[in-house]
Amino acid sequence: MFLYAWLILILPLLGFVALSWVGNRLPEKLAGLAGCATVGASFLVTLICAGKMIGLEPADRLNHVEILYTWISSGSFNLDLAILVDPLSIFMFLIVTGVGFLIHVYSISYMKGDPEFSRFFAYLNLFIFSMLLLVAAADFFFLIVGWALVGLASYLLIGFWRDKTSAVLAARKAFIMNVIGDVGMVIAAFVIFDNFGTLNFVDVFSAAPDQFRLNDDTILLITLLLLVGAFAKSAQLPLHTWLPDAMEGPTPVSALIHAATMVTAGVYLVARCHVLYELAPYTMFLIAGIGALTAIFAGSMALVQYDIKRVIAYSTMSQLGFMFLAVGVGAFSIGMFHLMTHAFFKALLFLAAGSVIHGLNGEQDIRKMGGLRKVMPLTHITFLVGALALAGFPLTSGFFSKEAIIMSSFYSPLGNFVFWGIAVIAAGMTGFYIFRVYFYTFYGSSRSPEVHSHESPLVMLGPLLALAGLALVGGVLGPWTHEFLAPVFGVESPHYHDVMLETVTVVIGLGGILIAALIYLTSSDRLEFAKQAFAPLYDLLLNKYYVDEIYDFLIVKPTKAIGVFLEEKGEKYGIDYAVDEVGRQVRYVSSLVSLWQSGKVRTYALNMMAGLVVVLLFVVFL
């Protein structure tokens, strides 16, 4: 019924192929147009599919597996090129293609003049295709294929400016950490196949509740292994160190991949496999715990960063922690709703930051910015909207989704007071750090007056305005989201309303904004005072709790040492020696054998005689 949903995937793939093949011969405008057109067309097809899906009865919405081609069919193992079209995947399609399209349009202006313009759009299309494959996959195999492909696209895009050493190193780091996650996913796939005999989502999820009790060892193993992959992709503790460094890539990349889509793949994974996770409450507790911890951990680091993109990156990490907290306590559709609103306002924030950076000709340090409110009014308004949504200001979209998460962390059967407490503190930090950036950037006087700053062109502002609108009014999509996704999760997430807790949350959130205003909006004495009072803590936070250094010491250096050792000693004295030795022995033996060939006829005749004797023996007597 939804066979044309394949178009959603195929169009960006065609865009990637076409742009990588002939892109560098096209003029910039044409390449940009082609790149946007494919994603835009995908979005339109998605809208058609969504419309059709909404028209169906809720019970009919599940299990539409559209098979394109049977790839492997051996014995009892079947692997088809198939996509699963159900509310969850259509939901993700909408976000990926919609926000992706806006970011593509933005990139036409942001990357203008870059000599590798078409390559950028080719990679962006590749990424969109991979992300769509990931969310559309109907079995674990293609999920992992899409998983790995988005890791690849992320690597290509982070390291897009190939001459920038820091970018290349960051890309490598991101890829390696993603691969760690991939290993976990692949092992999980093996365990799943071993236990269920199939990799199809539909088959596995329908068989799982009958086959396993709660907290069965096998289910725990599967869910934990999948979790490794989810945490690596979504930059949760302890596999989080790649995300801040990934900001070395161009800003549209940060907006698309590291805010709206790729990093949310982990949350999508948990939501897709919710049947398995519901059978493993221990793992759910772990998810919620790590999500909450990451939320507060990342929030604390964002308090002191001075690179505008890095603050937003930590903010992403923190918000993903919120999402994991939500799915960890069983509120799956609430988590997905926050995923959507987060996509809106985080992409908005990144694009607005990109506009600021573009306007200041590449300056990213907020300590050198200031007073941009007057110079870039539209950017200012959109950034403000994004900041308000992020901080959960009442009536923005972020408010509704965050409130729902914080409520369910307390009220859900799997939630508890500690989770709620951590979530509230993290929410408070959120308000503080984003408005710190806001005040530094847009208020006061310019701290680097010699730089001439200008407002960004309309092509960049258009998507900003669109996203700002979505971030403001997206809250109304909440009830629709829960109702749309209900068939997938089996039960409509309960809405908790406790006026007192809600008020506490709102007050703490606004309090964060207020403190930031107090410190940064007025004089800088309070700033100095704060810095001195918290000096050692400040260093710890600024250096990201020295996690990178710990990893380097524990893991990177020993691995490198082993590699060097194997190359110098293992190769030289082991493998090379063995191979050479074989050659030497062959030569030695052949030199011995060649002594037999004396050149004398009589010797040869003797050999023939000996042979004759033996042959006669065998023929006549045996």
Binding site: S594, S598, G599, K600, V601, R602, M609
Partner: protein, 99 residues
């Protein structure tokens, strides 16, 4: 005693011929030993054609004689050519194909 004697004679001449071939160093004498071996085989063939009442053995022997004649002639020509350059007749010294 019939054909047993034939077999023994033939075998003896053959073995004597092969011993001679392996022991002597003069190529001409080696050729003669080859002739001995061929003669032994001829003897066997012709004798048995009598015992088996068929002429196949004799025809075969005739062919062997033709071949032996051709072979001797060519071999002697080769020895002649080698002698022209080396002026000695010792097969042990003709080991250019050594190693």
């Amino acid at each position: 005693m019939g054909n047993q004697f034939l077999l023994i004679i033939s075998a003896t001449i053959f073995c004597i011929g092969s011993v001679g071939f392996l022991i002597r160093r003069n190529p001409l004498i080696m050729f003669m030993c080859i002739e001995l071996m061929l003669n032994a085989v001829n003897l066997l063939l012709v004798g048995y054609s009598g015992f088996l009442n068929s002429l196949d053995g004799q025809i075969f022997a005739l062919m062997i004689m033709a071949v032996a004649a051709a072979e001797v002639v060519v071999g002697l020509a080769i020895i002649l050519t080698i002698f022209r350059t080396r002026h000695e007749l010792d097969v042990d010294h003709m080991n250019v194909l050594k190693g």
